[in-house]
C-alpha cells in the first residue's frame, strides 16, 4: 500500500478506534457479556461471551454495561479505568442478582490423610492472610496440629517457599467435598482514583483481605480504592477476612500533626472524594467491618444495607471494627441500615470519626453490638441522629460498654430515637488534648483546628426504655421533650418538659433471615407536647457555622417518623413512631 493509501486508511479508521480508559468515545455504549462457559478471545456478545470479568472490565468504556451470567468466577476484578460522568458510567451487573459469585478462593484438592484426623496439603507459596472453607464453612485457624486434632480447624507451617496446611475436617473427605482456600486480596477493586463505577447484584465471598486502618490501607472485598461516585447496589459480600465494602482512600499517620498542619489536611476538595451510593447490600460474616472508609463516605449515601455477623469469630482484635466504620465522613448520610451481631471487645454498630461534620444517621436499626451501638469519635459537629432504633444489651451496665459512646465528639443532636437499654458515655480524650479540624459547611476546607470536647449535645423527643441519658451536665448540652419508661430516668440538669412514665412498654425484636420486626405495645405511653423540631430550634452551631442541614446546605426539620409518617401536631409520642401501636402488632422495620 502506498503512503497516501495508508494515510487514507488510517484516517478512515480513527473515528472508530477507541482506547479503553479514554474519557471520550465515538462508539455507542455497548453491552459486554460474561459467562463461565465463555471465552476471553470471544467478542463479548450474548452468544460469544467472555470467560472472565477481568477481561470484560478491561474492554469496557464509559457508558458500557458488563452483564454477567450466573456462575462462580474465581478471579480478582480490577478496574483500571472508570466512567466519565454520572450518565456515562461503567456498569458491572449480574443478569440474575445474587447468582453471580466472585470468589477470592480456589478449590483445593490433593489432600493427603494423616494420623489424628488430620489432612495435609502443600501450597506453592506461603500466605499469611488465607482462610480455609469446608463446604462453605470457614474453619478456624489454630496454633498447632495438636489443637487441630480436637475440633474442626486448621493450622499451618510455612517457610519462604511453601506452606503446609493440616486440617481437621471431621468425618468429611476434603477431596470429595468442596474445600476452598481463600487467597485473593480483593474481589472487585480498582486502580487509585477510578470514578463512576456501578456494581449491581454481584456476590463476593471468601476474600482474604488484609485488615484496614483509617491511617493506612483499607482493602475491601469490594474496594473503591479512593475513587469517587461509585454505586454499589444489591450486592452480597460474605465470608471475607476483614472489610466487606471499602470506600476508603489510603490514609497515613500524621506524626507531626499540629494546628498548622493538622490531621487530614491533605484533602481539601469535597468534589474529589466520596459521593458514593452504597445501597441495598447484604454484608455478613466479614472479620472487621461491613462498610469501612476514610473520606469515601463524604457526601455519600449508605442506605438500606443489611450488615451482620461482623467479626463473628472474634479474630480481629484491633480498634476499628464496626458494622459501619467511617472517618472524614463529612455530610455522610447513613440511612435505614440494619446492623446486628457485631462482635468483639472493640466492635461497634456504627463507628464514626475522626470527623463526621454534617453527617446524618437516620432510621437505622442497630442491635446486638457487643461494645456499643454507636461510637462517635473526635468531631466538632454538628451531626444528626434521628429516628434510629438502638437496642442495647441488657447487661451493658455490668461491663465497660455504652450504647452510645462519645469521645471528644461535640454537637451530636439526637432526635426521635428509640434507645432501649442504651446508655451514653461522653468524654474528652484523656491526656493531652488532640486538635481536631472542623470545616466550612459542606466542604473540606478547614476552618479551625482545636481540641474537640464533649459539649453541645442535644436530646429531643427521644424514647428511652430501660436506661436514660445518664451523663453529667456538660457545656451546651440540652435535653427535653423526651419520654422515659421502664426505669429510665430523666437527667436532672434538663428534661424539664420530658415525661417519666410509670407504666412499662413491652418491646421485642423479631429477627428473620433478611429483616427485622418490632413487636411492642406502647398503649400505656403518654403523648407529650413537643415543639417543632427544626434546625432553628436545634440552634446555630457557630464553630462550624451551620445549622443542622443536608449536604446541599438546606436546613433539616424533623417532621417525619421512622415509618415516614408526617406530623404537624405538637401533641405526639416521643420516639421514632408518632402513632400508637396498641395491638402488639408487628412493625416491619427492615
Amino acid at each position: 500500500m502506498n503512503k497516501i493509501a495508508k494515510c487514507l486508511a488510517l484516517c478512515w479508521l480513527i473515528p472508530f478506534t477507541v482506547k479503553a480508559g479514554t474519557e471520550k468515545r465515538n462508539l455507542p455504549p455497548k453491552k459486554i457479556y460474561v459467562s463461565p462457559a465463555g471465552n476471553d478471545s470471544g467478542a463479548g456478545t450474548a452468544v460469544k461471551p467472555l470467560r472472565s470479568i477481568t477481561k470484560a472490565v478491561a474492554k469496557a468504556l464509559p457508558g458500557d454495561h458488563i452483564l454477567v451470567m450466573d456462575g462462580v468466577y474465581r478471579e480478582s476484578v480490577l478496574f483500571t479505568h472508570g466512567g466519565s460522568a454520572e450518565n456515562n458510567r461503567i456498569t458491572l451487573q449480574a443478569i440474575n442478582p445474587q447468582k453471580v459469585v466472585i470468589k477470592g478462593s480456589e478449590r483445593k484438592l490433593n489432600w493427603v490423610k494423616e494420623k489424628n484426623k488430620l489432612w495435609k496439603c502443600i501450597l506453592d507459596k506461603p500466605a499469611e492472610q488465607i482462610m480455609l472453607f469446608s463446604s462453605g464453612i470457614k474453619l478456624p485457624r489454630v496454633q498447632s496440629a495438636g489443637d487441630c486434632a480436637q475440633a474442626l480447624s486448621w493450622t499451618d507451617k510455612a517457610d519462604q517457599r511453601k506452606m503446609i496446611i493440616w486440617a481437621n475436617f471431621g468425618t468429611a473427605d476434603p477431596n470429595r467435598q468442596l474445600t476452598e482456600i481463600a487467597i485473593r486480596q480483593y474481589g472487585i477493586s480498582a486502580k487509585e482514583n477510578v470514578d463512576y463505577i456501578t456494581i449491581k447484584g454481584i456476590s463476593v465471598s471468601q476474600v482474604a483481605n488484609e485488615y484496614a486502618s483509617i491511617y493506612g490501607i483499607q482493602p475491601g472485598a469490594i474496594d473503591t480504592k479512593g475513587g469517587k461516585y461509585w454505586n454499589i447496589e444489591n450486592c452480597k459480600v460474605t465470608d471475607c477476612r476483614s472489610v466487606g465494602i471499602s470506600i476508603g482512600k489510603t490514609g497515613h499517620v500524621y506524626e507531626d500533626a499540629n494546628a498548622g498542619q493538622p490531621e487530614f489536611c491533605d484533602y481539601t476538595d469535597l468534589s474529589l472524594v466520596g459521593h458514593h451510593k452504597i445501597n441495598n447490600n447484604h454484608v455478613s460474616r466479614c472479620g472487621q467491618a461491613g462498610i469501612f472508609g476514610l473520606l469515601g463516605a463524604t457526601s455519600s449515601l449508605i442506605k438500606d444495607n443489611l450488615i451482620e455477623y461482623i467479626n463473628y469469630d472474634r479474630e480481629y482484635s484491633g480498634t476499628e471494627s464496626a458494622g459501619i466504620r467511617l472517618a472524614m465522613a463529612v455530610d455522610a448520610i447513613i440511612e435505614h441500615n440494619l446492623i446486628r451481631q457485631v462482635r468483639g471487645k472493640n466492635s461497634y454498630g456504627v463507628f464514626l470519626g475522626p470527623v463526621f461534620q454534617g453527617a446524618r444517621a437516620s432510621r437505622n436499626i442497630v442491635t446486638n453490638s457487643e461494645s456499643g451501638l454507636f461510637y462517635l469519635f473526635k468531631n466538632h459537629g454538628p451531626s444528626l441522629f434521628d429516628n434510629n432504633i438502638l437496642v442495647g444489651n441488657n447487661n451493658q451496665a455490668t461491663h465497660d460498654s455504652a450504647g452510645v459512646k462519645m469521645m471528644a465528639a461535640e454537637a451530636n443532636v439526637f432526635v426521635q430515637n428509640l434507645f432501649y437499654n442504651c446508655g451514653f458515655t461522653n468524654n474528652c480524650q484523656p491526656g493531652k488534648s488532640v486538635a481536631t479540624s472542623n470545616f466550612l459547611p459542606n466542604t473540606l476546607i478547614i476552618k479551625q483546628t482545636i481540641p474537640a470536647l464533649n459539649i453541645d449535645h442535644r436530646w429531643y423527643g427521644n424514647l428511652f426504655i430501660g436506661k436514660g441519658i445518664g451523663i453529667a451536665s456538660v457545656a451546651g448540652c440540652e435535653a427535653d421533650f423526651n419520654l422515659y419508661t421502664n426505669g429510665a430516668v430523666p437527667v436532672k440538669w434538663a428534661d424539664f418538659k420530658s415525661i417519666k412514665s410509670e407504666k412499662n412498654i413491652s418491646l421485642r425484636l423479631l429477627h428473620s433471615k433478611d429483616g427485622i420486626k418490632l413487636v411492642w405495645d406502647n398503649s400505656a405511653m403518654a403523648a407529650n407536647r413537643i415543639p417543632s423540631l427544626t434546625a432553628d430550634f436545634f440552634g446555630f452551631f457557630a464553630l462550624s457555622k451551620q445549622y443542622i442541614s443536608s449536604p446541599d446546605g438546606k436546613k433539616i426539620n424533623i417532621d417525619h417518623d421512622f415509618l415516614n409518617n408526617k406530623t404537624s401536631s405538637s401533641i405526639r409520642f416521643a420516639g421514632p413512631f408518632y402513632q400508637k401501636n396498641k395491638s402488639k402488632g408487628n412493625i416491619k422495620l427492615f
Binding site: A259, G260, Q261, P262, C265, H380, E410, A411, L440, I445, I446, K447, Q448, T449, I450, P451, L453, I455, D456, V474, A475, G476, C477, G539, F540, F541, A542, L543, S544, K545
Partner: protein, 379 residues
C-alpha cells in the same frame, strides 16, 4: 494544686443571642470611633504648640512608615488569614494598608497636609474597589482587626475631607458590610476571648461608620452579656482583674484588654460609658495585667473558660514584660477624664504607660497604638 473551676456556667459552641438591648437610638456622632472632633483638635493644637508628651509622641508617630504620604496601597481581591502551613494570602498587604490609611488620616487631621488625606482615601478606595473575598482559618481575627483600622480611617476622612466622593464612601460602606462583616457576624465562641473581641470591635466600628444601629446593638450587647469569652465579664474574669488568657500568655491578654478599651472609647464617643461597667472591671483587668508585666506577682485563680476549651492552672510567663501600646488610653481616661477614681486604682496602668511613653504602634493591626499622641489629656 488548686482545683480548676469554671467561674461561669460554661457555654457551648451554639450561638444563642437574646434580642439585644437598644443602646443607641439617636443618630451616631461622627467622627465617633476612637477619635472625636475634640480629640483631633487637641492633638492638632498640642503638636502645633510643641507641648509634651504630644511633641515626642507625634515625632514617633510621624516617623513610622505607615504615616508616610508616599504610601502606595496594595489592594487585592482575596485575603486569607490562615494558621495552616502554606496557606494565607495577602494578609500582610491588608494589615499594612489599614495601618497606613489610619495613620495618614491622623496625619491629615494633625498637619493639614492634604497629601496625607489623598493617601488615606487612595488606600481605602483601592481596597473598596478590589477586595471581595476574605477567608481562612483565622478570618474572624483578620476581618475584625483590619476593619477596625480601615473604618477608623474612613470615619476620620468622611468627617474631615469633603473631597472624598460620596460614591466612594458608599462603596466603602458596602465593602465593610459585605466583605468584612460576614466573617465576624457570629463572633467566635469556641476561641480565646481576643477572637470575640476582634469581632466585637470590628462590628462596632462598621456599625458606627455605616450608621447601622442594629449592628451596633449586637456588638455592644455582646460586650455586656455575650456568651463567649470576649464579653467583658468573661474576659476579665474576676474582681482581681485576672484575664481569661492570663494562663495562656501575656501578649494576648494585652491584645484583648486593648480591644475592650477601644470598644469603650468608641462607646464614650457615642455618649455611652462602657468603661465603668461592673465597678470599672476593665480597669481591674488593666491593673492586673500591668502589675504582672511590670514584674510584680498577682494572685491566680485556676479556672476553666466559658467555652470549656482552655483550662489553666497557673499564670503564663510567656511574653511577660513585653508591654504593648495600650495603656495611655485607659490611664488618661481614669486619671483625667472621669473624676473620683483614686490614683491607687490605676497605679500599675499609669506605670506601664509611663514606661512606654511615648507609645509606639500597636502590634501589626492588633490595636491602635500611639496612645500617648492619641489619648493624652491635659492635666
Amino acid at each position: 494544686m488548686m482545683a480548676i473551676v469554671s467561674l461561669q456556667q460554661a457555654n457551648g459552641q451554639v450561638l444563642k443571642l437574646d434580642s439585644p438591648n437598644q443602646y443607641h437610638s439617636a443618630p451616631f456622632t461622627h467622627p465617633g470611633l476612637l477619635h472625636s472632633s475634640n480629640d483631633l483638635l487637641r492633638m492638632k493644637e498640642m503638636v502645633a504648640q510643641g507641648k509634651e508628651p504630644w511633641k515626642s509622641a507625634f515625632q514617633k508617630f510621624s516617623e513610622h512608615p505607615c504615616s508616610s504620604a508616599s504610601w502606595q496601597p496594595n489592594a487585592v481581591v482575596h485575603v486569607e488569614r490562615s494558621l495552616l502551613i502554606g496557606a494565607g494570602k495577602n494578609i500582610g498587604n491588608l494589615e499594612k494598608d489599614v495601618c497606613a490609611a489610619y495613620q495618614n488620616a491622623i496625619m491629615w487631621a494633625i498637619t493639614g497636609n492634604e497629601a496625607h488625606a489623598i493617601t488615606a482615601v487612595k488606600i481605602i478606595n483601592a481596597w473598596s474597589e478590589k477586595f471581595k473575598v476574605f477567608d481562612g482559618t483565622d478570618v474572624e481575627l483578620g476581618a475584625g482587626l483590619n476593619v477596625f483600622k480601615m473604618a477608623s480611617a474612613a470615619e476620620l476622612m468622611r468627617a474631615t475631607y469633603p473631597k472624598w466622593q460620596q460614591t466612594e464612601i458608599e462603596r466603602c460602606k458596602k465593602m465593610f458590610s459585605t466583605t468584612f462583616y460576614p466573617p465576624i457576624q457570629y463572633f467566635a465562641l469556641w476561641a480565646h476571648g481576643n477572637w470575640d473581641l476582634a469581632c466585637m470591635k470590628g462590628m462596632m466600628a462598621i456599625a458606627i461608620f455605616n450608621d447601622d444601629h442594629a449592628m451596633f446593638d449586637r456588638a455592644v450587647d455582646f460586650f455586656y452579656k455575650g456568651p463567649g469569652n470576649g464579653s467583658l465579664l468573661h474576659y476579665v474574669i474576676n474582681e482581681e482583674g485576672q484575664i481569661q488568657e492570663s494562663g495562656r500568655d501575656q501578649p494576648h491578654c494585652m491584645l484583648g484588654i486593648g480591644h475592650l478599651a477601644e470598644m469603650c472609647e468608641m462607646g464614650w464617643n457615642q455618649g455611652m460609658d462602657m468603661y465603668s461597667f461592673t465597678g470599672n472591671r476593665l480597669l481591674k483587668g488593666f491593673e492586673y495585667t500591668a502589675k504582672y508585666n511590670l514584674g510584680e506577682e498577682v494572685t491566680f485563680q485556676p479556672y476553666n473558660d466559658i467555652s470549656g476549651r482552655f483550662p489553666a492552672d497557673h499564670i503564663a510567663t510567656n511574653g511577660r514584660g513585653k508591654l504593648r501600646s495600650i495603656f495611655e488610653q485607659v490611664y488618661n481616661h481614669y486619671a483625667f477624664r472621669v473624676k473620683g477614681i483614686p490614683p491607687g486604682a490605676y497605679r500599675y496602668t499609669k506605670q506601664a504607660a509611663e514606661k512606654l511613653r511615648p507609645e509606639g504602634p500597636g502590634f501589626n493591626a492588633d490595636n491602635a497604638g500611639f496612645g500617648t499622641l492619641f489619648f493624652s489629656l491635659e492635666k
